[in-house]
Amino acid sequence: MRHILLTVIAFFCIGSVMYGQKRIATGQVKSSKDSSALQDIIVFVKGRQQNTVTNPSGEFALPCNIGDSLVISGMGYERTTVAYDGSENFVIFLSQTATNTLQEVIVTTALGIKKSKEQVSYATQEVKGSVLQKAPESNVASNLVGKVAGLSIATKSSMFESPTVLLRGASTLVVLDGVPTDKNSFNFWSLDPNNIESITVLKGTAAAALYGADGKNGAIMVTTKTGKNGSNGTEVTFNSTNQFSGGFLRLPKTQTQYGMGWNGYYAFIDGAGGGGWYDDYGYVWGPKLNQKDASTASGYVEVPQYNSPYDPNTYYSFTESGYTDQSHYKPIPLITRGGGNNLKNFLRREFITTDNVSFAGKSDKGDFNLSLSNMYQKGQVPNTSMTSTTLLLSGSLQVSDKFKVSGILSYNRQNSPNYPANSTQASGSGGSGPANYFYNILLWMGPDVDIRDLRDYWKPSGANPRPGGYAYGTKNMQQYNYNYTWYDNPYFAAYENINAYVNNVINAQLNLNYKFSNDLNLMVRSGLSTNSDQYTNKEPWSYIDNSFQLQRQGGFSLQQDNNTQIVTDVLLTYKKRFLNDFHATVSMGGSSRYNQIGYTYESTVGGLNLPNYYNLAASVQTATASNASAEKQSSSVMGYADIDYKSEIYLGITGRNDWVSNLPKPYNSFFYPSANLGIVLSKLLHLPTAISYFKLRGSWAQVSDNNLNLYGSNYRDWYASLATYSNGIRWNNNASLYLPGTYISPSLKPNTTISQEYGAEMNFLKNRAGLDFTYFNYLLKNFLVAAPLSTASGYDNTYVNGGSYNRKGLEIVLRGTPVLTQNFKWDIIANWDKVHAYRKSYYGGASIQDGIKVGDRMDQYFNTAWQTSPDGQVVYNSNGSPIQTPYSVRLGNTDPDWSFGLTNNFSYKNFSLSVSLDGRIGGILFNGVEAQMYDGGNHPATANSYRDDAYAGKKTYLPKGLNVTSGSVTYDPLDGHITSDTRVFTANTVNVNYIDWVRNYYRAVQSTEIYSRTFVKLREILFTYSLDPKLVKKTPFKAASVSLTGRNLLLWTKVPFMDPDGYSNFAIAEPTYRNIGININVKF
């Protein structure tokens, strides 16, 4: 980070004045506000490469001629062009821009209240909607990566998979135009980037305390575009982006030399593993491929294979490794097929197109905005796609001088006729199992399979029926595959196992504003959001799902969820100046919030009685259904007061009290206080002129959750304090109930967050550079802990409040303009943050739990490991097997040490270039995908001569490591650290069977697959050409631009096979790809 700061400062030194012209113009630049002299303002002569910078008295001298146009520009001021008139006392007044001085930067704070940035004494950061619109990803959250210090977004590669969004390490509230969304139902898929005016992130608890419990982890405030920022009259904007996959950031490789089978053997006898040639065994530890055999027609070793011609009347003889056998499947050459590119051959070129047209306008009486967007994504998995369509209507009307009405109505429909089953959206998928295409391809499909041969995925007629299976030869009955016991044909899975999704989202709000006087204002706002989604799963006959059942007769299921939320806020605000130097804004009001959720699920049982008939009526057994619903009401009073003294010291306090329906009295009332204090030192003290602005700020807040959050599922959470029976098994049509094992005591209290935050904002060199620094420390306490009881007492446990931890971190935002000339401008914005959680106490006073001591970071990762010597070498026993630690040991921390985002914007004349990098540095992950590839025999490193030796029964592999000659080692059972070690070592000399070793070494423990999760991504490059205003005038357009876009262009990481950004463990995700595209934006 330091070098960036140095670079910034170095560029400030540019300011050489050029001489050599016959006439020197002199003048002075002053502020239009108070006529103060302005330093460091750049003055240039239009059309020439000459410029200068004003001195501390605001004066400049520049060679030019009378009549030349002088362009005057400086950070924080509107660029102004004046004609040089030759006068001696040539004074130019500059007015401040709306965006670069803190007094005039407007921040959207809690409840949608707009305040000047200087009034706000907690960390906030804004992202303009325009940066989200040129290369939109299908989920707008992905476009926010690296843009806000403290906002961590882990992006995913599978289509329709939600990125993980964490603010200061916790999930946060999203607020649409001042109205909080329901955190359980809101997702970023429903947000159309084209409609976003700006996104303001309120990072801390104090900033969002007016939202009560929902605001305990800050808030992401989304402001929708309205017509009021446009010009008078009507403006039509068309924005379109087309992006397609331009290669992969990470494409896992498999070995290409060994086929499927076990221990060097493979032959397709009956497809059921009955012949002892491992035809259904499932591993890729089969024979070496491409071996010459002069005795066969092809010249290669020939054995019966899954794709061999089948003749029920012929027994073909074949010989492999000296054994002769017979099969109805004709022997064919055992060779590498498909070039070992099965994964690549399976995937399609992904494509996203986004189009938006909007009509906006305004007049004295009001404004309106009408916008229609459509986003279509074609997934890289065949037969997957999604569409998201958004219609937005918004407008306002000044009914009278005192009364203003405004409203927003948006409708979003997401529709996916089939999304990838490996996406975490899919029920019961996303993990490691045959429902995941990549599980079948990467882990268990040998290079003797050409995936393109599987494209016709119905088993052809005339083939040998699998004993106990279904008749082949009929469409919709039996898939065709390389293995019929454990895996699915990926094409079959993609084209026949259908996961469909539809979601309809409506957001509406109405705002009434009544100005009693200039001092007194009443605001009433009511917002409704509702969404209803439906998931449909069609599982074909012969499909093997992750439950590996014997019976494979498909299935059909439907799931519907609906959520409704209505929030009404009323605020009466009074502004008053008193004692001359004090200014106060006091606001009081109330809020009401109602939530309703519902869920139904219906499914066939025992499969479908007819293939390809997807209806509950097709259920073999009686179809099953379940439902759940929940309602919650909360009522609140709230208020805030902002007081400032001479615009030098700002104090803000907020308070809110909720009464909620989901907890028993008297524990259902919550008070959430917060306070923030800001001191503008640059006004109070005389600071060096290089420091143009310096503000210190601090804030404090206390917020309790108003849900118990016991179950992680909203249906029960809202009733968690009620002791109820649970539905038990339904036996022979008799319903049943049982009492759960948790004793619900009547005095449960939710957990509480107490936050402190301290920060500084500094601007330098006439606001040309800025630094924003924040330290925060949250105390989270009173968690509900399941305190165990003696089971003999009749209950397993009871909930009690206890335990606490701290979450603390740093955030730094740096911005600057290293270069600013007449035609060229370079802006940098850099975000840096770190956040960690530290255990403070455990319920019951324990000093250590799950290996984590009081005071330690909570993200420590414990798992099993091979025993190692002090210098890290693996210890083997006398049989040549590595020795496992007796307890789980600490393998590292999973959270990154820090993360960053860096955006450089360059503009030259009508061209602009934006380059964004981001990354997360430090932390570890377990690469379960690689471990499974070793296990299955598909890892490229397993193709070696030791494998041939192992097939021949030879133990030739010498694992690198040590043997213990004497002494012993003991481990602490609580956290696995070594407590004593008297071992004496010698180099391991025991040769082992390579296959036994490799499958054990990489799979039995996790320590061999731990990688640093550090990565840096070149996230975005945008290259834009805006049509010259002169040229635009000759067109029907008001403005036009065209951009070349690139997203996710490069990835630097040491993690093999997977993109560490969004994945770890056994998640076998789609390969991450880069997107290249073109954006067109016209206004007319």
Binding site: G589, R716, G728, I729, N732, S790, A792
Partner: protein, 495 residues
């Protein structure tokens, strides 16, 4: 003032919703009220033995074995702590009892006593002393119950069985409805039979305690056998206390149905198969698959895997031995699972006669009569539920064999061995408990057996008891086992 009036009105309107507070304090997804019948159904599915595969009883009793990278805990006899899961069922029983009293339906009260007797006796037979008199009092403030002596637990549960029989007799007399009864369809008289048969089982379990003057084991057995009117007993398989699997819901299927792991890795145990083969037992064909490639229905086609072997050796012998019959994974229903059945009851009476507790069974039946009736009804059980097709002449032939025919000299061994065969994947750990008491049959142990190669006699108390009820559990361990809570200690019952 007008302004504040508006504000006040708005706030009041916003708060008005709170009036409906009680409405929201009502969970629409889970009821806060229940009926005893709804709990009874749940209790029946919990009390009746449910899954021999996952609870390990069939491995511990050496009917079956399974092998993977490491041996199953029950195959290797490597268990240490047992589970207090029985108390979770007792919580339901207590709640059913409370609701039944409130509803005035004493039939459920009688059943509550029966279920308490079943679960408390199973718990004490696993561990030794257990919390009984002070158990289940968390809601009334006692979450550290004292441990009762095993003798006192037996005294208590035998007394509860007496009460249960009396209450159910009254219920039968009054024709009380017992809805939710998925075992006997609400027939209180049949419940009486199960209660009394179960009491015979517990008395037989106490065969080493016939001198105990508090329990009066023999006298109790005599009293029951002497009074058929007061103590009805089962008269055929129709009276079996058993849960019948059905196809109304997937959870009602036979528990191993559709299991890829059962169909591929669960083999017959050698000792059990050898016992059946030595007797040409036709039930073997209902239990097992033939060795791969051999003809079904011929005794020589079957062999078991020695569960005492190491995992690798078991795996190696798997290809030349019998898997469990495929019907257990292919059929949704199969045979019911018995808590206690007619065959077992007849074996219990036969044993009491053989031990001289009583001179004969009901209707002057001899020990041999009861023994033969038990075996016959067991074979008929498989005819009914597994299409075993064992004819009456097959049964006669079987019973006539010299190593089957009842012999006074080897009566106990024969009765227990035949009861062992009749309880294949039935009645949970009952075969194990009876082997522990009598030593019959001998269970295979070997290189794959943990616990120093011996069959454990009990389970250690759950770790959680030491954490949450330490004083009481330690006192119990001290008084019974000299302070050592391990699996090889002999509890009072076995001394």
């Amino acid at each position: 003032m007008k302004r504040f009036y508006i504000l006040t009105m708005v706030v009041i309107t916003a708060l008005a919703a709170c009036k409906k507070y009680d409405y929201y304090q009502n969970n629409p997804n889970n009821p806060s009220q229940a009926l005893p019948s709804l709990l009874l159904t749940d209790i029946c599915t919990e009390v009746f033995p449910y899954n021999f595969h996952t609870d390990g009883s069939a491995y511990a009793s050496r009917y079956l074995t399974t092998y993977g990278n490491t041996l199953n805990t029950y195959v290797s006899y490597g268990w240490i702590q047992g589970s207090y899961g029985g108390y979770d069922i007792l919580r339901q029983v207590k709640q059913m009892d409370t609701l039944a009293v409130a509803a005035g339906n004493e039939a459920y009260v009688g059943l509550a006593h029966f279920f308490r007797a079943v679960i408390f006796s199973q718990l004490t037979e696993m561990f030794g002393d257990i919390p009984y008199s002070q158990a289940l009092q968390a809601t009334s403030g006692n979450s550290t119950p004292v441990y009762d002596k095993q003798e006192d637990v037996y005294l208590g549960v035998l007394n509860e069985l007496e009460q249960a029989n009396t209450i159910m007799a009254n219920a039968a007399g009054k024709n009380l409805r017992i809805t939710g009864d998925v075992i006997y369809g609400g027939n209180a008289s049949q419940w009486q039979k199960a209660i009394n048969a179960f009491r015979l089982r517990l008395l037989i379990h106490l065969s080493k305690k016939t001198n105990d003057t508090k329990l009066n084991v023999v006298q109790q057995f005599q009293t029951i056998m002497a009074d058929a009117a007061t103590y009805p007993l089962m008269t055929s398989n129709d009276d079996n206390a058993q849960i019948v699997f059905n196809t109304t819901a997937t959870s009602n299927y036979y528990p191993t149905y559709n299991s890829l792991s059962v169909v591929s890795t669960v083999s017959m145990e050698k000792g059990f198969v050898d016992t059946l083969k030595a007797k040409n037992d036709p039930r073997l064909f209902s239990f097992a698959e033939p060795i791969p490639g051999k003809t079904a229905g011929i005794i020589a086609s079957y062999a078991g895997v020695d569960a005492g072997l190491t995992s690798t050796d078991q795996q190696n012998s798997a290809s030349v031995t019998s898997l469990i019959n495929k019907r257990y994974s292919n059929s949704m229903v199969n045979e019911p699972m018995m808590l206690i059945g007619y065959p077992e009851q007849e074996f219990l009476i036969a044993e009491a006669i053989a031990r001289g507790w009583i001179t004969g069974g009901r209707n002057s039946a001899t020990a041999a009569d009861c023994y033969n009736e038990a075996i016959t009804s067991s074979m008929q059980f498989y005819n009914t539920y597994a299409k075993a097709g064992i004819s009456n002449s097959d049964i006669s032939t079987y019973l006539a064999q010299s190593n089957v025919a009842y012999n006074n000299a080897t009566a106990i061994q024969q009765i227990i061995t035949q009861k062992y065969i009749a309880l294949f994947v039935q009645s949970d750990f009952e075969p194990f408990v009876e082997q522990r008491r009598t030593g019959f049959p001998t269970f295979d142990v070997g290189a794959g057996t943990l616990n120093n190669g011996i069959v454990p006699k009990r389970w250690a108390y759950p770790t959680k008891e030491y954490e949450q009820n330490g004083t009481n559990v330690k006192a119990a361990v001290q008084s019974q086992y000299g302070g050592t809570d391990d699996v090889n200690q002999a509890m009072w019952l076995l001394k």
